[in-house]
Every structure is written in C-alpha cells, then in structure tokens.
C-alpha cells in the first residue's frame, strides 16, 4: 500500500511558525461549536483549518473571522486531536499583518498594531494613547464610547500620562532580536517550501 502525505505551502508555513500539523484535523467541528464569535463571521475555526489544509489563503484573509477571534482558547482546549487551533489562528494573524492582508471591515487589526507599537514605545501599554490613536486612524470610531471614556477618566481609571519605570530599552532590544530571528526563519521556509 502506498501512503500519501498531503502538503500545501500555506500548511507548511503554518507548521514552521506554530509547530502545528493542520492535517491532523478531521473536521469534527468541536472547535467551532464552542467558538463565541463563529456566528459573527463567514469562516469559523473548522473552516479555517480546512482552508489551511487546502492552501486556500484568500478565503481566510478576505474574511473577518481572524479579526473577531478573541483568543479565548476554547478551540485549542476542546480539540480531540490535541491541535493548538489558536496557535494556527495566531500564526495567520501574524502573516496577515506582515503581508498586509487584512480586510477592510477589520478594525481590530488596527488595534493590534497600535497596541504593539505602544508597548514598544513605552515598555507598557498606554491605554489612553491607544484609544486616541485608534480614533485618529479610524475616524468611524470617533464617537464610540465617548461617554463611558469620560466616566472612566472621572473615576481615575484612565491615566493621562504613560507609565514610568518600565525597562523600555529591554523591550526595544528584544523586539529587534525577535524580529530578526523570525524573518530569517520565514525566509528559510519560503526557500525550501
């Protein structure tokens, strides 16, 4: 009997980044049954896994699902095959951000970028800056939650200044080192894959 080892470039890229072999998925859909945001997008964890197996990246990157995923880890926890589904989704998000493959109706992607930048800039997340920059870069959000923001300011729950005391230099150094290693690895996969 001959055996067949399925492979697609997308699946290989995901495996090199996350360590997950997506071909272990047999589509039982337990991940999607427990997914709190599955009703709000066209794709859901099980169809994401299938699309990665088949190398259908457009189907994944054109849908909003990646940018509704809250990272709740229910999919990973319930998978009977022990697949870290969340790690696959995280890897897809990283690729989408890196290659500019984010759909238009995905405001959360903007927040992820701003969040990472804020951590690099201050060593800690500066929430007030994040909220303001989000409003400036995404004008449709300008009037969202303004009343609540004011209430939180009054209660002293939002600082007007960034935190002091964080080892910013360490974050800068680690971010550079991690990005260098990650892009060297990504290049390696492209050459061999």
């Amino acid at each position: 009997m001959t055996t067949c080892t399925p492979s697609t470039t997308l699946a290989a890229t995901i495996e090199s980044g996350s360590g997950v072999n997506v071909f272990k998925c047999y589509q039982c859909k337990r991940c999607s049954s427990g997914c709190p945001v599955a009703p709000y997008a066209d794709m859901h964890p099980a169809t994401i896994m299938r699309a990665v197996q088949l190398g259908q990246s457009d189907m994944i990157f054109e849908d909003k699902f990646l940018w509704l995923c809250t990272g709740c880890e229910t999919c990973t926890t319930r998978c009977p095959q022990g697949i870290d589904v969340e790690a696959v989704i995280d890897e897809l998000k990283s690729i989408a951000l890196r290659d500019g493959r984010v759909p238009e109706d995905a405001p959360f992607a903007n927040l992820v970028r701003l969040n990472v930048n804020s951590i690099k800039r201050w060593g800690r997340l500066f929430e007030m800056e994040l909220l303001m920059r989000d409003k400036l870069t995404r004008p449709s959000s300008m009037f969202d939650d303004v009343g609540m923001g004011l209430k939180m300011l009054r209660k002293g729950k939002l600082g007007l200044l960034p935190a002091r005391g964080a080892d910013k230099a360490a974050v800068e150094r680690m971010a550079k080192a991690a990005e260098a290693i990650t892009s060297a690895r990504a290049l390696g996969t492209k050459e061999t894959g």
Partner: protein, 286 residues
C-alpha cells in the same frame, strides 16, 4: 512570612486600579509579602502573540528570569488573568527545546524555568489557603449568592494554565464560600466576554455580556465575582448598552475576588476601590 514576587501588569495601573489596591491590601492583611518585579514591562498581551510568537514568549520569560535570577524567589503572583496566561505561556514555551534556545537568545540572560506563576484565585486558594483565610474572617457575607466568572484565560488552555478542570473550574467558588457566600451553579462560568474586542466590536460584546449575565441572574446570582480586569471592564461597562438595546435589564454588580476577600477580612472600604465601578456595588458590599 511568605514572600512572592508581584507582577501587576498594565491594567492594574489603570482600568483595574481597584484590583491592584485590594490585592495589595488583602495580601498585607493575610501576611503575604509582595515584592514588585523591578522595572517590569508589558507581558505583550494578545497583540504580541498575534503578531510575533517569539517576542510573545520572550517578554514574559524576561520577567520570569528576573524573579529567578535577580529576586531569587520561587513564585510570582499575577492577578491579571491575561498576564497570568502570558507568563504561564512563557514557561510552557520554554519546555520546547528549540523554542527555548530562541527565547533565551532574545532575552539575553539565563532562565531555568523554575518560577511558579500564580493567578488571583491560586493565591487565596493555595498560597494562603482556605483554612488560613477562614480564620481571618471578621465580616462574613451572610449567604450572598454570587456567580463566579472565570472567563477564558484563568483556565484555558490547560496545558498552559495547568487548570484541573478547565470546563468547570471550582476554586474561586471555594474561596467565596469560605467568605460566607453561596456560589451558584451556572452555565457561562468559562465563556468569553469578548475581551479587548470591546474596543471596536461593541455590538458583539453587548451580546456576549448579555448572554453571560442573563444566565448568572437566572441561576440566582445577586452579583458576579471576577478575577480578570478585562472581564470586569466588559461586564461592568457594557450593561448600559445591553439595557439600551433590550430594555428591561436589572444591572448586576461585577466585583473583583480581591475586593470580596478584603471586605470579609475587614480591610477598610477606602482601600478596596469600591467607588471605581460603573454598576454600584454597595448594595451587596455595604
């Protein structure tokens, strides 16, 4: 006196100040010494692990290394569930030899993986312990019915959090019962509140909040107890949105476990930040 390293995380210095204040006050009163990690930086939260896996592991490992190598302590208290998840993930990634090499190359100093990461529930349940906690109680809750809401990251995924029962955890229930509350049995203990999607997908988060709180109330809860700043903010701030959309909504107070413990062991209200909430908590905490 027991000593633990303390990693507050960004939220405990802003939207969750009352969690920081009540955690410090209860630790003091219960004889647990907390030493803040010097110059700690953000754990990377979900934004970094959805953009660079290696940096997402290096940021928390850098903090754990300080606890092990610099502070020479065995464990770190991490009250924020999201930070707890990231620091635990740091330890988990270090078990993969290939990842460990890359992580340590990025961090730039050694870490042997010895530090135990403890969340808010663990601290009261295991580090202090229920027997010790019960001995300190001076103002017990007399049968107040509460729903303990664990959300996602205290228990999932179990390979990272080491939770015994990720689908129906009970340690927070044990703690509130030690305080004199009745912990109700309910269905949405570990469902997701929407986390930081609340900043841009308000409608979705209103639906998730409504589903969770409606079940808590249907199961008899008079308040919801939480151990995560994101859960607290979402459930606390989104109830006005639920009321506006659906009308006929009875607000439920959303209280940190550390505030509950503080009240029961006699920490003065002023140190518990009870005035920081959107939905008034004094009806059940007064």
């Amino acid at each position: 006196m027991k000593t633990m390293a303390y990693y507050p995380g960004c939220s405990l210095h802003s939207t969750a100040k009352e969690m920081d204040a009540s955690f410090r006050a209860t630790s003091d009163a219960l004889g647990l010494r907390l030493l803040e990690i010097p110059n700690w930086v953000c754990c990377g939260n979900s934004s970094v692990h959805s953009s660079n896996r290696l940096l997402a592991a290096a940021l928390p490992v850098n903090e754990l290394a300080k606890v092990e190598q610099l502070m020479k302590l065995e464990s770190v208290a991490v009250p924020c569930a999201a930070c707890f998840s990231r620091l635990s993930a740091g330890n988990h990634e270090m078990q993969n030899p290939e990842m460990a090499d890359d992580i340590l190359a990025v961090v730039g100093h050694p870490y042997e993986g010895s530090v135990k990461v403890r969340n808010l529930v663990d601290v009261y349940h295991d580090e202090i312990g229920l027997t010790e906690l019960k001995e300190q109680i001076v103002r017990p809750f007399e049968g107040l019915k509460v729903a303990c809401y664990y959300g996602c990251l205290l228990s999932r995924p179990p390979k990272v959090t080491l939770a015994e029962d990720p689908e129906y955890p009970t340690h927070m229930d044990d703690v509130v019962e030690a305080l004199g509350c009745e912990a109700v049995q309910w269905n949405y203990k570990t469902d997701c509140c929407g986390a930081n999607l609340a900043l841009c997908e308000q409608d979705m988060v209103i639906e998730l909040t409504r589903r969770i709180l409606r079940d808590a109330r249907d199961c008899g809860a008079e308040a919801v107890v939480v151990a995560c700043p994101l859960c607290q903010v979402n459930l606390d701030t989104r109830q006005d949105g639920v009321a506006k959309k659906y009308g006929d909504w009875q607000h439920l107070p959303i209280i940190y476990l550390s505030q509950m413990v503080g009240r029961a062991i006699g920490v003065p209200d002023a140190q518990l930040g009870l005035n920081k909430h959107m939905v008034d908590v004094m009806a059940v905490m007064g």
